[in-house]
Symmetry: C2
Subunit: 120 residues, 2 copies
Amino acid sequence: MDDDTLLLTMLFDFFGDLLTDKQREYYDLHYNEDLSLSEIAEKAGITRQGVFDVITRAEESLKEMEQKTGVVRRWRETRKGLERAEIVARELLTLTGPDGASAALARELVLTLEKINSEL
Amino acid sequence: MDDDTLLLTMLFDFFGDLLTDKQREYYDLHYNEDLSLSEIAEKAGITRQGVFDVITRAEESLKEMEQKTGVVRRWRETRKGLERAEIVARELLTLTGPDGASAALARELVLTLEKINSEL
């Protein structure tokens, strides 16, 4: 996935429900269900150009929402820091060994960070 | 701040720029600049009821955006986990003392989590 596609995927995940029903439907069919513009056009009974326009408008909306809220940018920065934190916590747990108070805290940290990262 | 006000404050922070200019302006004057509805009405040259309607619509929009995206809910959960992680990392640093490999890792963890939490 190139950077722009990845950004759009995250944006759709965050803001997809703020699009119009038609934008969300065509966007989803094209990018998530991998249907071609012509296939969507046939299903929907409109022109290929019509489908293209709806999807293009959806992409513009998603990018505009990101420009105004910065949600994905903030989320990505947090995620980068958290992935690093999880690695460090694991190294720490290796150093403490399995027993004792430090090990218990290190294990709690690993589990907490793992949980947060899996939900991000 | 009660729960609803806190939620609206976070929503305005995330989604304020997705409101209309007028919604954003009146909302900001009322909740952030602490102007009364009558004061805003006088400045804007409309009725108090008109201001009330715009702000009510802004609140509904913000809550609808949250209902559709869950951004604030996800953010809050992440934040709660991260605050706990920072506390655990600090306890760990107390146990490791200032020197050695474990201490270096624990210190990196504290700094990383501190940075993430201050930016959330």
